[in-house]
Amino acid sequence: MAMTATAQPQPNAVLDTILRAVGWIGLASIAVAVSLSDFLASVPADTANAGPLLAPPSEMFRLGTDILGRDMLSETLHGLSATVRAALPAMLVALIAGALFGFVAARLPRVLAFSLRGVIGILSAVPSLLLAILMIGLTSRGWSGLAAGLAAAPLAFVRAFERAEAQERTSHSEYARAAGISAMTLLRRDLVYEFTQTILSGAARSLAAVTIILSTVSFLGFAAEPPHRDLGLMIAAAKGYFLDAWWTAAFPALALTLLILFARLAAGLGEGERA
């Protein structure tokens, strides 16, 4: 009886699996929408006077038009595409500079490892948004993807560092060291396990983190520039008149929230857990 009970998956585990599946299906749908955005959108990006100014959603303009008469459906698709295209390289940067570097850093000689951990700890005490803004200010808007990835990296570094430290204390590591297996071989082995087990959830988590940073720096005017508007910049542009024309901000905001929500679900993040 007890065997049967332990063999059955727990309700929470089933729910988690379903939520992760929903997240990945959602991300796949967004990937399809992004790759077909030029085909799905009725007009090219930033086409003014496609319809009347500030027209509410209707049969002709399903998501309405903005203050320059741009079709909101087309603009939201283009904006989503711009956001995802900027977030993907940033996600890679966060994965490499955060998760990979953090894991490797934990296995460096102790003084070096803890010095690095200390420096990154200082960076992780600064809001990642401000770090991203600072890095864009030190370089240029063209580097916003790199800046967002590097700004998201400290937290990923700290998490990976702590995981690597915990793995180093496990019995298999102690046996391996006692058996004369070199630290480099052990690191290679742990890295393979770490990345096969966490690469997908780590990538989804980084995607959520960098999307929040990138869209926020765009909203503040530090990243995307017209005509290549991303969702953050679209919402910033709607700030002056969204109280009277809700659709100008609501649909880009919905698209952005869905993208982050799907990435969070795919990463298996808990409610309220930081990406």
Partner: protein, 299 residues
């Protein structure tokens, strides 16, 4: 406990020193000829460190005034917003963390909390502004226009309306971090063997919850104080921009845009110090709360 507090204090001191060195390196970018190579930059860095030793933070390239003056003009607003947001975070986050910590309530609230967690702060702030404007008919200062100060202790209805939206937006961001810490703490206590052992010793379920579980869960919240403050500061940066308040976070954004590195460095240092100090205070209080063996003199 004393050993723990001393170790944490040493870590805090090292962290603050590191933050100071990094901030000085950033401020050195504003020194003459700093961009002309490694040596001029190092000379600039040394010069900034020398000035810092005399409590001179330099001058703002934007206003020409001293950095101290700029911080004095903008920081109180941000600290006030963060402080009031912290109260909202506790008022909202603690009940949510306890109510939805586990069981069917958590599963029921899960989808809503997930959606709210996915909305970036600026989206949440604009949504709050929209609701306040249309449902409560409040004047909402999100359009274009001059930035203003904020009455953190409102005396009139108009001042209360102006203060409430940014404080709510910041507080909700902090509440998310607070409830997460509480739920983590609650989940940890569920796994502890002492729950069953205490019941076997004859304690009622209520006694176990009141005397052991609640302190352990609150200790988890205190241990995450640094994370909560970090969430509040991040939210303040966006909220000041959305609601057009001239706080320190807004000044940071402006200073980076205009390459005023002295101001940017000072604000970064203040924010990092606040987070690190909150973490230090939080972990020490958590240790006191959760460690019944701590000497009475420390309580």
């Amino acid at each position: 406990m004393l050993h723990f507090a001393l170790r944490e204090a040493a870590r805090l001191a090292l962290g603050l020193l590191g933050a100071l060195l990094l901030a000085a390196a950033l401020a050195a970018l504003g020194a003459p000829h700093a961009g002309r190579g490694f040596m001029p930059f190092m000379i600039g860095w040394g010069s900034v460190l020398g000035s810092l030793a005399q409590a001179d933070l330099g001058r703002s390239a934007m206003s020409g005034g001293s950095v101290w003056h700029e911080l004095g003009a903008h920081l109180p607003l941000t600290l006030g917003l963060v402080g009031e947001g912290f109260l909202i975070a506790l008022i909202v986050g603690i009940p949510i963390g306890f109510l939805f910590g586990a069981g069917p309530a958590r599963r029921a609230a899960s989808p809503l909390v997930q959606v709210i967690s996915a909305a970036p702060i600026f989206v949440a702030a604009l949504a709050l502004a929209y609701l306040a404007f249309h449902l409560l008919h409040w004047p909402v200062p999100v359009g274009a226009g001059e930035k203003s100060g904020l009455q953190l202790v409102p005396h009139t209805m108009a001042e209360l309306q102006a203060a409430l939206l940014p404080v709510l937006a910041i507080g909700l961001a902090g509440a998310a971090a607070a409830q997460l810490a509480l739920r983590r703490g609650a989940a940890d206590t569920l796994r502890q063997p002492w729950r069953v052992q205490l019941r076997r010793m004859g304690l009622t379920s209520w006694d176990v919850e009141r005397a052991y579980v609640v302190p352990a869960v609150l200790a988890a919240l205190l241990a995450s104080l640094g994370e909560v403050v970090l969430a509040l500061l991040s939210a303040a940066a966006v909220t000041e921009w959305v609601f057009r308040y001239a706080g320190a976070a807004d000044l940071f954004v402006k200073s980076v845009a205009l390459r005023d590195w002295s101001i940017a460095a000072a604000i970064l240092f203040v924010f990092a110090s606040l987070t690190m100090t909150a973490h230090f205070v939080g972990v020490c209080l958590a240790r006191l709360l959760a460690d019944p063996g701590a000497p009475a003199s420390w309580r």
